[in-house]
């Protein structure tokens, strides 16, 4: 094996390792079309208490890997504040979707602190199909 062949093999190995590393780091690939994503069942999410206390709001985007029946196998936060993401990831594991070819789904959690108090209490959850969940927290009394 001459020098140039050796370098080529080495570069190939590096490229394969690098590519494998990239793939393992970025699991969600491709686009999941909204029309392929239908929620069969979901669970309300309470505004995370720590975030409510600190008045943290924002959006968390969760990618979910599905099995052939549409159950969530595992979840990954693609963006969002840590204090909001942890609760979102746990919540997403309890959702169920219609099976799709991509075997994946995305849920967008929109956390908002508000002035008002809903009839159902200080934390309110609503889902706008196909995957947009809004969680609101009311104002705290002064002390």
């Amino acid at each position: 094996m001459n020098k140039s062949t050796g370098i080529a093999i080495l570069l190939t190995i590096v490229a394969v390792v690098f590519q494998t590393h990239i793939v393992s780091q970025v699991q969600p690939v491709g686009t999941i079309n909204d029309k392929d994503m239908k929620v069969v069942d979901f669970v309300d999410l309470e505004y995370p208490q720590m975030a409510r206390q600190a008045r943290i709001q924002g959006v968390v985007v969760v990618w979910a890997r599905l099995d052939e029946k549409g159950n969530v196998l595992d979840t990954k936060a693609l963006s969002g504040a840590e204090v909001l993401a942890a609760a979102s990831l746990e919540n997403a594991k309890r959702w169920r979707f219609q099976p799709n070819a991509a075997r994946a789904a995305v849920i967008v959690y929109n956390f908002r602190v508000t002035d008002s108090e809903s009839k159902s209490g200080c934390s309110h959850f609503s889902l706008e199909p196909p995957n947009f969940a809004t969680i609101t927290a009311c104002a705290n009394k002064i002390q």
């Binding site: 206390q53 002035d115 705290n140 002064i142 002390q143």
Partner: protein, 288 residues
């Protein structure tokens, strides 16, 4: 809420209680005549007073206390009787609320204007928070005490890190009953007890009073009215005073066990200040 008084209030405040049907007005024996009659003041549901003469015999040395719509008369002999009365709606009555001493006091409304997150005041608040965040892990007593209780979660350290990181605090001019408020140094939350909004952004975990003891040594520049903070009477505007106030507010936000709701309640506020001092004095006095 942490508040500071330059001049002690005397008797009942002139401001009216609002929004609560049951206030702690205490009819009491004002005078016992030669026939053994007690003069007491009773109130109707609208808060209108009536001066009455009650026979104290066989109940002598009577004192009357009110709890919601029941009055209880006690005597040195430990006998007591219960009397009923309609609850008083103070918000529409002509009578003043209590001065906030003791539980069940009136709940005064706060409003703010000019809520800002600008230097130099915002920087000062952030710097004090930073100092506390640095010191807390090295002060086990304060750190262990400053933990969430009840349905709250997390620690004071986490809470301060989150609030500081998100810049979810500010400073403002605070008003109480429409007048500039010097006594309340800072408060946590966004709405009054009666549900009306204070006027801070929904994202403001706490607000510091521009005219209070956090930034000022004296009330409105009047050197005869110095601010003192906490159980140790730290001078207004000092680092110790500032740290005391921010720890106090953080304890509210995470509902530390035993830390009381003290807005409009001086007794609870005093107890809270004592708790901060007992657990965090070393941290506060160790800050440079």
């Amino acid at each position: 809420m942490i508040s500071f008084i330059a001049v002690e209030e005397q008797g009942w405040g002139s401001a009216r209680g609002k929004g609560r049907a049951f206030e702690s007005l205490a009819p009491r024996s004002a005078l016992t005549d030669q026939s053994g009659n007690d003069t007491v003041i009773t109130f109707d549901a609208n808060g209108n007073p009536t001066i009455s003469s009650w026979m104290t015999s066989p109940v002598t040395g009577v004192n009357f206390f009110v709890a919601d719509d029941s009055w209880v008369a006690t005597t040195p002999g430990a006998t007591y009787g219960e009397y009923s009365a309609a609850p008083i709606e103070l918000s529409t009555s002509s009578w003043p609320g209590s001065d906030g001493v003791g539980a069940g006091g009136a709940s005064p409304d706060l409003t703010v204007t000019n809520f800002l997150q600008t230097a130099p005041n915002q920087t000062t608040i952030a710097n004090v928070m930073g100092e506390i965040i640095t010191a807390l892990p090295n002060n086990a007593q304060c750190n262990n005490w400053l933990q969430a209780g009840g349905q709250s979660q997390g620690s004071g350290l986490q809470q301060m890190q989150l609030v500081l990181g998100a810049n979810n605090f500010g400073h403002a001019v605070i008003y109480q009953y429409g007048a500039v408020d010097y006594a309340d140094g800072a408060f946590s939350g966004q709405k009054n007890t009666d549900g009306t909004l204070v006027g801070v952004p929904t994202t403001a975990a706490f607000t510091v009073n521009d005219n209070g003891a956090f930034f000022n040594q004296y009330q409105n520049g009047d050197t005869t009215k110095p601010f003192f903070v906490g159980k140790r009477n730290y001078p207004g505007g000092s680092l110790r005073a500032q740290a005391t106030m921010l720890i106090h507010e953080t304890a509210h936000q995470i509902t530390v066990n035993g830390f009381q709701h003290d807005f409009g309640n001086r007794k609870a506020e005093k107890a809270n200040n004592k708790a901060v001092d007992s657990n965090c004095r070393k941290l506060i006095e160790g800050l440079q």
